[in-house]
Structures are given as structure tokens and as C-alpha cells.
Symmetry: C2
Subunit: 264 residues, 2 copies
């Protein structure tokens, strides 16, 4: 693996690399504790529409997971996003999403087709990213979780459904709009599904229908008042509890914690 | 205050006492860290129908909160429950609840009247219990939370709505069935509302209607698959995060935690 960029900050190293999938360059990034060696839990994070793999909210959470739990965290730019397109293109997508939200018409046959095409393209890219990440000595073949809301769920549902290495997933901010009911039904790992009650992109009925469609025995829907972008901060705490419950913490981080607890 | 019983176990002291409200004896119990002095957060816990103030699930949670967060926890027997009635009477109530669940007819005009009467009687009893608890030197006037699902919510909604000392509440396993829509609307503190998607006692629509009726800006609904009595264990973790976020931890427990963290 050739890293195109590597930098350490506050005990966390962020490395970038490129994958080639179906002839297209897919820029990827991985965060891990500085000096990490050996296998550890890995969380894959799918960014939202009009965002990119290192958007502040995602990057901050990734660094926090690395520092606090010793996790590795991987992210890639979705098709048509981030370093895969010119900056102006991204701005145009973000503006069009904003317009769709304000207009109250989030979904048209055209926007649904774009979403479906992006998901279809992204799924093999994520599989390839997971292969590459597990090949890194500081990631290895530990337990794998997925986090992704909005576009991260539109892509995440078919990806998680087709990826047996993923053992738990945080999804949300999406409804059962596109043709992924069958994929949702194939998901049978623990799911934490976060939903905004006044979401401009997904109706309450569609959100509940997607929650109902998951095949998982353990699934929880967290409903909060407010619009699409207004997930309350305390849900971030709930995601951490969820991942620690299902993935544990890294072996090196676990010993550090024990040492702290006994005052060593 | 005369305690009718006092016992310590695993660092937690449980004391029992009697209140008299409207001429009726209301048996009460309070858990607190052994040797506790001075004010601390207080959580009031309302038990479910057919249960009592020291039912294992509640008592275990109370002792855990005292040990882990330094909280005081108070509970009383609801009207027609626990030490307020003969043991055979309680068994009869529990059996009738079980029958109602199995029959699929949870609510009739008669059972709704009983629930409403119990709530009306319980509200002044809870106010009196809170007065008494805050008069104890090891409880004092710290922040107060409420926890109660099922019957604990049927009583909790009108109680919390009428009690400005309560600053956050965990409610659940109930729908907007009785005439407490107005009371729910008066609740404007943070609420965590836990709901079972296959509840035999409250329909999905009634559960969502109650969640919608709360006047709180911060309110979260946690939906899990399964029947009334099958709240998953991880929700207990979510309740702890919720109370710690809103009530903090006891001053004496906070210093103990800091001491642990620095290895003292």
C-alpha cells in the first residue's frame, strides 16, 4: 500500500491512499492510534450527500474513536463526491440537496435514479476498501462495524447486506424509498437507526418502513424532533456505546484502560 | 423521619419509611451510598402494574445508581400495590394484567378508569414522597429525575407534569390512551421514551401519539422490537447516560472518580 499522505495529530495517525475499482480512482482514508500495531476493531464511515470522506464531523468522530477505543476508522469518497470530482461539482451537489430540502420535494424519479446508481457503484468500492484496510498490519481482521446516515445509509443498506464481515451498523436519516427493501431484509446484524422526526428528506412513514424492513432481531430506532441535519449531540454518545458493545475496544487500548483503572 | 427498616449491602444503604397521604399509609423506600452525607442527585422510580417498590429489577437498578453515581433513589408502592394490599391482591392484579395481554384487549372503559383513578391518587403521594426525601440530610435538594414505564408512566405523566423539581424523565411502555394528553403537553423537560414495537398494552400509534404529545424540545423515542416486558438490556445503559447527562453525578462520587482517574 502506498500512502499518498500521512500525518499524526493528538495521538492519531491519518493516512490516505487510492483504490482503483472498475477503472475508477477511489480516494480512501484511514485513521488509527499513532504507533498502532496488530488487529483492532474497524469502523467504516460513509459520509452524507454533498460531503466527502474527511468532512469535519466524520473526521472528528474518527479521531475520537481511534483515541478513545483504539479503533481503526476507514472512509472513502462516494461516487460523484470529494476528490473524485472538481470542487465546484461538490458545491453544486450540496446546493441542489439544499434546494430539494427547502422545496419539500426531496425525491423525484431523477434524484432516485441518481441515488440508486451511486449506491450500485459504491458497493463494490466499499468491498474493495474493506479488503485493502484489512490488509494493513495495524488494522487486520478484527470485528468490523459500519456507520453511515443519509447517503451513507442509501449506500450502506446494500453494502452492509452484502458484506458478512460487518457485524453491526449505525444507519439513519433515510426512508424506504428506493428499491432496497430486499437488501434491508437481508441485514440481520444489530442495527441502531437514528431518525429525525421532521426530516425534509424522508417521511416518518418511510423511516418507520425502513426500520421495519431490517431483518435484524436486535434493532433500535432513535427518533428525535428536528430536521435532517439536526441530530442531537447525545446520539453520538449512543453510537459509541453501540460500537463498544458490539466491537469491544482494541486490545492495546483495553490494557491501557485497565492500567489507568488500577492506577498504574 | 422514622425508618421502619434499614440495611446496608455492597456499599448501599436501603431505608424504608411510611408516609401518610390523605389518611392512607404509603410505604416508601430510599437507597443511597453507605455513609452518604449532603445533597446528591435523586431519581424517583415508579414501578409497573402488578409490581411493587422493591421489585428486583427496580431495586437492582437503584443500588447500581447509588454505587456508580452516588445517587439517592426513592420509590413508593402505587395505590393498590405492594405493602398497601394483601399479597393475594397483588397476585390477582398481576394475573389480570397477564390475562389482558394474552387476550389482546388491554384496555376497556373499566381498566382505563382504574388506571386513571390510580394515577389521580398517586400524584399527591409522589409529591409528598419527594418532600420527605428532600428533607433527608443525605438526599437534600439536588437535581431530581424520574424513571417509570408502563404503570410508572401512567402515573408519571401527570406527576412529572405537575412537579417543577423534576428536571428529566425516562418514560415508556404506554400510549396516549387515557386523558393525559394535556399533562403530556405540559411536560417540557428532557424525556427519554422507550417503546416496544410489539407491545400488547399500547399500540404503535398510541405510543407515537404520546411521544408527539410531550411538550419537550429534547425528547427521544427508542423503539425496539418485542413485547411489553422485553425491553432489551442495553436500554438500561441508555438510561444511565441520560441521567448522568442531566443530573450529573454526586459530588462525593465525582471526587472518587477523579481520584481513580489520576491513580490516587
Amino acid at each position: 500500500m502506498n500512502f499518498t499522505d500521512e500525518r499524526a495529530e493528538d495521538g492519531v495517525t491519518r493516512r490516505q491512499f487510492d483504490l482503483t475499482v472498475a477503472g475508477e480512482r477511489v480516494p480512501a482514508v484511514v485513521w488509527a492510534p499513532e504507533g498502532a500495531r496488530g488487529p483492532r476493531p474497524l469502523v467504516l464511515m460513509g459520509h452524507g450527500g454533498g460531503q466527502h470522506k474527511k468532512i469535519t464531523t466524520l473526521a472528528t468522530r474518527a479521531a475520537r474513536y481511534a483515541r478513545k477505543f483504539g479503533y481503526a476508522v476507514g472512509a472513502i469518497d462516494a461516487p460523484g463526491h470529494g476528490d473524485r470530482v472538481a470542487r465546484e461539482e461538490t458545491a453544486k451537489i450540496a446546493a441542489s440537496i439544499g434546494e430539494r430540502m427547502r422545496s419539500g420535494v426531496a425525491w423525484t424519479p431523477e434524484t432516485m435514479k441518481t441515488a440508486r446508481d451511486r449506491a450500485n457503484q459504491a458497493v463494490p468500492e466499499w468491498h474493495a476498501a474493506l479488503d485493502a484496510l484489512q490488509g494493513l498490519d495495524f488494522v487486520g481482521k478484527g470485528p468490523v462495524g459500519y456507520w453511515g446516515v443519509s447517503l451513507g445509509t442509501m449506500i450502506g443498506v446494500p453494502f452492509v447486506a452484502s458484506e458478512p464481515r460487518i457485524t453491526c451498523a449505525v444507519l439513519g436519516l433515510a426512508g424506504l424509498l428506493t428499491d432496497f427493501e430486499a437488501a434491508a431484509g437481508r441485514i440481520n446484524i444489530p442495527v441502531q437507526f437514528v431518525f429525525q422526526w421532521d426530516d425534509e428528506v424522508a417521511t416518518r412513514e418511510a423511516g418507520i418502513a425502513l426500520f421495519d424492513a431490517f431483518g435484524s432481531a436486535e434493532k433500535t430506532m432513535h427518533i428525535n424532533p428536528g430536521v435532517h441535519v439536526a441530530i442531537p449531540n447525545f446520539e453520538a454518545e449512543a453510537w459509541e456505546s453501540f460500537f463498544v458493545r458490539h466491537l469491544g475496544v482494541a486490545a492495546d487500548r483495553a490494557s491501557a484502560r485497565t492500567a489507568e483503572a488500577v492506577g498504574a
